[in-house]
Amino acid sequence: MRLLVRHRLRRTRREGYVDRSELLEADEIRIGRGSDVELHLSDGRVLLHHATLSIRDGVLRVEALDNAEIELDGVPSRAVDLTPGHTVAVGPYDLVCGDPSPDCDAVIGIELTRPMGDAEQTLRTRVRTPLLARRRSGWKIGGAIALVLLLIGVGIPLGTFLGPADAPKPVEQNAGTPSNTDFLRLAETMWVTEGLSNVHADLEAGCQACHVTPFAAVAETTCAACHNTLTAHVDPHASFSANVDLSGGCASCHQEHKGPKGITPGVEITEAGCISCHTGDIDPGDGSDLARVASIADHPQIELPAAPLSGLIFSHASHLIPQGKRSPDGTRKVLGCVDCHQSANEGQDMTLPSFADGCVSCHTLTFAAEEPDRRLPHGSVTKLRSFVGDFYEAVARGDIQAPEQPEPPRRRRPGQAAEPEPIAPPKPVPAHILAERALSGPAVKGQCATCHALDEGVAAADWSIVPVKAVEDWFSAARFDHDDHKKDAQCSTCHAVTKSEKAEDVSMPSIGTCLDCHGSAADFPDVDSTCVTCHSFHGRTDQAAGISAPAWFAGNKPPHPESFGELTEILRNARF
């Protein structure tokens, strides 16, 4: 066959084409990349032997070889009959059948319609370096994140100051009111460094309970708004030793945000802290002595109030005999401390027994044979006299019948008749004589005199009871809690009363007894004893205050100031 091939070559400068024609003569014309084919195409995507051209029945036929690809209108085929005007794709080339020409069997045009593209350009599209891009995005991202963090970071602490602007309430457990509670808790978690103290942890006002004003420190007046019953230990204006710096007010010793137990002062109120002032070197300036305590082990002797003449006749020893005291029902009852002394004041103190609480169970104060169950009233001698008088008048009137007495056995003098003579009934004694006899005799006076010292009058019946005096508060300057000691001590550990025979005996312990268990932390590590275990640093306005209670505090009602400020004013003027 004779085949005219027109190679269309593109020129790059303008859209024009250049044709190169060649005339091929062969029976079968092979198309391919190889050097031995008739129609040579040099693109690498064409196989060495790609296809064959032949004329069958006057029609141009293109057959693909082996695994070559030819496509007609996008559909892959193995063989295509090409009529003029139609195109078949051979690899990246387009083969178009042209109009027949008289001097050849077929005319085809070949064009590389899908070139591989500029090598360099193609290569550059395959080079990916996104990380070498401009850094502007870094600033944008960073700036956005920073702004968000700043808004959150500054907004939340300032936000805790928004909310109901009430005065800080006293300790109120968080009732779980919604509104800003969750926000406050979030703020606290984010902002509080070492944790709030246990006691302040659940205040309803949250941070605002103490931090009332932004950019201002917590003022002493804020503490005093809730803690309004405390007194100051020392005059805040005194210039004492600077070892314990009290210029910070409450915060000198009580620091919040130091953990759950951090609000309790540390070294300031341990033994070392108190001793730093109580060294004996400080002159308070008003002539009084600031007690000198070198250590707890050197604690000065306890100064007990002088025990007054009690007016009671009472022997602990006789009541505490091991075999027990006889009780009215005939049995012996072994008495212990708790039979007369009960705990009072929530376990802190022990009561002085009253007659009605303790003594009356044995000392029934029955006095008259006429009515064995009737008891004398206890407490007032005047009432006693009228009671006895009324009693015997009732007896005289016949309102009170003496119980039947059995006839005593009659005795017979030797030589006398067996039949006894009737005994004449005694002459009735007038009531007031009976009363006077009772009041001056063992029935009444004698019973009273068993326990009470009597103030004798002119007549035997003219007596009164010496008023009973007892010391109510032995340790006015310290706090002793009986309940705290119940586990480790018995009454007899501190109170040696088993040999006491007089009511005036003082059975309070000396400091030595306390020092058996209390001392420096180094010596007694298991016992909680710093100075403030027994002595309070802050007094209370309704009790004796401080270490050395000044005269106008002890026993007298102190003034009740309305505010901490007022109290500070008062204290500033009263040095103690």
Binding site: L48, R128, P130, L132, G138, G143, V154, A217
Partner: protein, 278 residues
Amino acid sequence: MTAARLHDGFLVHKRFRYAWLAVLLVVLVAAAVFYRDQFPPAAADLAFGYGLGGLALVIMLVLAWFGVRKRSYARGAGRLKGWLSAHVYLGIALIFLVPLHGGFVIGPDVHGAAYVLVLVTVLTGLFGVAFYALYPSRIAANREGLTFDDMVKRVAEADIELRGLAPALSEAANDIVRSEAARLRIGGGVGILFFRPRNSSRRAQMELQRLALDSEAARRAELLLDRKAVMVDRMQRDVQQRSRLRTWLLIHVPLSLAALAVVVAHAVGMLVFGLGSV
């Protein structure tokens, strides 16, 4: 007379002047902290808490200012190399100054977060120091006087020649060459920071070698593939090194901004709840 050095790097700048400065600062502050008991408590808290905190914040602002100074080419106080030296050593000192200022309390809250951010920023900075100290010479050694563009052009040249060889290659060889050309990728995403992908040109070259063809075209193709492989290797290494240099800063700068923000928030928190109360 000692000869002046032509170049001293930012780490040894002026005989480690800024390193000594930073060490001195940390030692002074640490000594003061250990003798803190001598001061009355309130004054100590004020000095160490607010004073040192203010100092640390000022240092942070100076460190951040380096980013601005770096871009003001025309003017600016001091040499840029000095600025960089100070930036690095003061940043390292900051790791120690912050816990000293905060009493070594670092908890799970905003304040701890501020320190953690500062710490991470400085640590990424240390990465940067390593990169800037090691990589520039490595990059230069890798390039051997060529630019990246030069390397691209050389690969393209090899490509063009390989295309021209197509008619003379057997089918198998031609397949290898063509698939290599289609597969070739240079550079990459985030992965390029850590590892370089397999060199496809090298693989193609070895496959071609295994075919053990005898034709001149095949041998030429093998040679061209080998050249391509070497060049592609260089390019990948170059991209990796430069990416590491750039990306590190993409992390360091936003981190530093975030750290600044949280530190400012921490400072506001410390002030808003009462200046003078700690």
